[in-house]
Amino acid sequence: MNDDRILQLLNALASAFLFMDAKEFDIPAAGKFLNSLDEIVQEAKTLGMTQIVAVSEGMGKTLEMLILDTLEDKAAGLASLGAEISRMQEIVDSYRNTGGCPEGVPTAGTKADAPAAPAAEPGGGLQAPEPAPPPAAKQEEVKIQDEALLKDFITEGLEYIDQIEVNILNLEKNPTDKDFINAIFRPFHSIKGVASFLNLEAIRELAHNLENLLDKARNGEVAVTSPVIDVVLDGADMLKTMIGQWKEVLEGKRNAPDATDLSGMYYRIGKIEQGEAEEAPRKLGEILVNEGVISKKDLDEGLKTGRSSNKKIGETLISGGKATPKQVAQALRKQADQVGDTSTIRVDTRKLDDLIDMVGELVITQSMIEQDVSLLGNSDRNLLRNLSQFFRITAGLQRSSTSLRMIPIKQTFQRMSRLVRDLSKNAGKVIDVEMVGEDTEIDRNMVDEIYNPLVHMIRNSVDHGVGTPEERVRAGKPERGLIQLKAYHRGGNIVIEIGDDGRGLCRQKILDKAVRNGVVAAHDTLTDQEIHRLIFLPGLSTAEKVTDVSGRGVGMDVVKQAVEKLRGKIEIESAEGKGTTFTTSFPLTMAIIDGMIVKVGRERYILPTTAIRQALRPAKEAYNNVVGKGEMINVMGRLLPIVRLYEHFGIQPQYENPWDAIVVVVDGAGRSKCLLVDQIIGKAEVVIKSLGAELKKVKGVSGGAILGDGQIGLILDPEGLFELSENRSGERS
């Protein structure tokens, strides 16, 4: 028996031990020790020295406890290690002398079995028959130790939760994909980590429980089924709320976060971990049930009939009228869907913004050079050629840099999809969501801003647009309502359509309400389009029930204002009984504006083209001075007030009479007015420059831009101008 090696190993172990000291317990030495023990165990196994194996394993356990600091009497622990080493040497000697194992040698160090501090139990946690919920929610102590850190935590935490939500939807489609599970596990783990440092106990605990659940999913102890997805989604929602409340505390909007009762959540988690919510892996029928396309009952019946007729579940459901071929096809696609691979890096948004600002400056400087170049005439061919190359590159650079901030609107659509799912459940309706063009990109700075208006519209569609299944069937429509989310680029804008196949706007009701509110005279004739636009006026909701936000008459006008604030436009199209579609369009980037340059006197101003309805030189006859209302121009049958820009800005204009000058009809805050200008110079894409904090307060001007010749043009804000003109006309009449 060749036992030289094991002797060597043992000797090495013994000398390594000499360097170990209870007072200054050395982790690296312990590591080397453990590795040596492993080698000894290997060697002992091949030599058949089973007792060495046992003793070594016992020593390993003791050492682990020393490393993890779960042994109360460390000195005793170390001493026992020393004793075990001696014992092992004896055993090996005995083998050498007698060729067999010695008698009466006790196995596995007894000292190692007596940890005083609680040793980590393998698979600890919930082992009680009924999962016991933690004590009732306590009011969180509001001791914000480090505001800056809390702020960062809130920002990043919310980002992480968004990631979780997106990945959950991916996980639903691929419940066995370890990468997705990991992608969800990590954010919970990270949130828990920082929460523990910031003493945010409730958040820490919830994150911890969810993390544990996902850990079990990761190593296969728990299968990723619907209840798991639901509880993780709900948990993420809860965390979002809790973190949001801390945000409000920082903003001074509240004193302390609400004491949240998480017992329900822990109960659900407990049940899952005990294996009481098991389900078989993803089948077509289950996907359909999950999506709310069919009910569980439908699935069961379908499976039964399918078995007898030997048909596939998809076919059975279609022929039984429980699902449309389209829905089954979509579910099949979901089943087969593989998520594309995207390689990404994280970049500090400040750096990104700096880069984009810099490119903006480049664009301005370039247009100045362009001006100078055109003044040079055709002098230097070479120079012109090089410059033209230069301009091409700059244009490309500008496109690239703005695209850096672009992200697909998919995430927003997915959030809206979830919203529809939740809202329709509450409202007792069954609504499918279809997404078209979800890869269309939008400036990431805008994503949060547009979310609220879009949510309003979704709520409208769910609450007032789409009817209940019974109602729909009576109207000859399919039971399941449909909301379509569509996004595409058009002419420098991103267009988002939210359409439903519900009741549509009721023309008469809107008209009646408008007459009642005095907005419209009883005998006025309005086109359908004009009537539909009326809902954007304050107080004009015709909803019967007051549900949350929509229906209290503060809905669509707030939405329109929010959209216009982002320099967007909103239109509505509707057919009674057929459905309603809201179309919103937003500029692709907030930094550059598509503007029309106008001249007033010697100054030039820029009007955002999204606000412009039309421009014209009115006929003398079109001018009216209405008593009590002021000067007006008749534009295609409508009387619109005039705003004399030169008066506002105190400049000497070229023309004072509207019929000599040009009138630009602009929209703002729900109304239209005529701006009086001398000339229209042309259209241009200009880089918006902020006027600084002080000048920001000036009404009617939303920023400045450097024009092609290096001069500054002020960008006008129609809403502000209207307000100013109204205040002035108050003085006038």
Partner: protein, 129 residues
């Protein structure tokens, strides 16, 4: 302890990196670098000499454990002191890290004092052969 020693913090959660940075500052360590995962950490390590690595375990692309192994396997970086940040002393993790040659580990959440102690322990060992 030389308070000007260079420390590399590796964690994918920026706020957590800040937390550790603040704690280190509290006990006098200001020469700090950051990396958001194992891959970028290795890049940093290849570019400059670092006196101590403080790394989280759970990270995308390359976990702290993988980073530890990569560091220990590298001829130049091999002996760099490595402090692993873990949650609740997850038994298996810690033992695996110890076997892989981690210098020490620290459990979240920890105070500046505990952090200082662990760092001191690690750096002292370097002085002894």
């Amino acid at each position: 302890m030389q308070k000007d020693m260079k420390i590399l913090i590796v964690d994918d959660f920026a706020t957590m990196r800040k937390v550790i940075r603040n704690l280190l500052k509290q006990v006098g360590y200001e020469n700090i670098l950051e990396a958001e995962d194992g891959v970028s950490a290795l890049r940093v390590l290849k570019a400059q000499k670092v006196d101590l690595i403080i790394s989280d375990w759970n990270m995308p692309n390359m976990t702290g454990f993988e980073l530890l192994k990569a560091v220990r396997a590298d001829a130049d970086l091999g002996k760099t002191p490595f402090l692993m940040v873990t949650a609740e002393a997850l038994q298996d993790n810690v033992v695996a890290a110890v076997k892989a040659g981690v210098s020490n580990y620290i459990v979240k959440p920890f105070t500046a004092e505990v952090l200082n102690e662990k760092i001191s322990k690690i750096m002292e060992k370097l002085l002894t052969p």
